[in-house]
Amino acid sequence: MYPPSLKYTKDHEWLDLAGDRGKIGVTDYAQKQLGDVVFVDLPAVGTKIVQGQSFGTIESVKAVSELFAPVSGEVVDVNASLKEKPESVNANPHGSWLIAVKLTKPDEVGGLLDASQYTDLVKS
């Protein structure tokens, strides 16, 4: 269910780490809670994001939710395809990255949850 290759937060974001860069998305649990996603508001390339703070919003038909940064960093890429197909967050949450960042505080990764810890979190 939750890929072991990803790291997770209690706010239901995931981080796909490769070297000093990571892609960020929302978990399957998050997309289920949201319902049909219709709009994702993301920061521009170059924006600095801070762990635990909001970097954007995700809207479903019924609700709008903040997106919280799993790590601190600088945005190096934004998934432009979500503008046209925001519903791919529902269809493929762990494959639909929102932004890619260059980590500025790599040791923050150590505090994130692994797949089994996250699975326990959303089960309870």
């Binding site: 038909v61 709008v64 503008k83």
Partner: protein, 371 residues
Amino acid sequence: MDQPPPLKKTPLNSRHRASGAKMVAFGGWDMPLEYSGITAEHLAVRRTAGLFDVSHMGELEIAGKDALAALQMLCSNDASKLQPGQAQYSALLTAQGTFVDDLVVYRLRSDHFLLVVNAANIVKDYMWMAERIAGVGDVVIMDASSRYALLSVQGPAASRAVQPLTGVDLASMPSYTFAHGEIANVRGTISRTGYTGEDGFEIFVPPQQADRVWLALLQSGGDELTPCGLGARDTLRLEAGLRLYGNDIDETTTAVEAGLGWIVGWSKGDFIGAEALRVQKAKGTSRKLAGFELLDPGIARPGYEVYATNADGSVGKVTSGTQTPTLKKSIGMAYLPQANATPGAEFDVDIRGRRTRARVVPMPFYKRSSS
């Protein structure tokens, strides 16, 4: 500390939960928000048909020799136009012409009417009417809500799902008429009404039989009938330009401002709110409810402030807003100053600090093609 009262449950509550519906508190009720997803349910209603549990709605009955006279005084629309077997959209108004509630009046017999009212307003409406009919004469009002479950089958395939279960000839029923009969071997009333902008039926049955009728409908409809929740009901009604009590109309907005002059019986005698509405109709109002679409991405949600383009100072508020599955646009309703409310006029919505351009468009946003 006061505990909020426990949520009320419709007779289908355990069916919804057993089916895995996502539940939500609405108007004091524990209701299904969605079954398979708002978008999928919405599109199913536009393309084939959807099945909704709307048993939370209230049913008030008014009966007696003077029942019509009482309704003519209490309700905005002209109930004398109704023959037994016909229904009519109407409203309870204050003396200021604002909404106590909006409702559908069914004429059961010449001296007996059924009013279907909003779930959150059942007690308020009952008290409002009971106080005001005391002097009218031979008329009683009764809250019969617990005697009815209400199922709604909506969409172009609605007749195909319902007809096999009933001897009532649906093809001969015009819109806003109803008939008593049996459905899935249960005695009930079938009404050609709804809240989605589609053809459809609302089916009144005894609560004890609701689950049986629900299952029979799903079986009869097969692939063409999708169980739906309140989420899709809201996006469907908004596309169809239908007002929602508590959002688009309430005790601070009048029937004229809300664009509901067509449910006012202007030529009937006096009724509560008539004087205020006649003044507004003659002199005009400073604001009105307008439909809009956003020109930039985002959703304008209820309560968001509205501004004239590139100007400070709020001029109104969004009352409803969503991304429509059918039209793939972000639409909504807002009370706007008359000068900003004509189709084509542009204004700004403050979406969490971001000014987003919107354009007034005519309502309804969606109109079904006539078959």
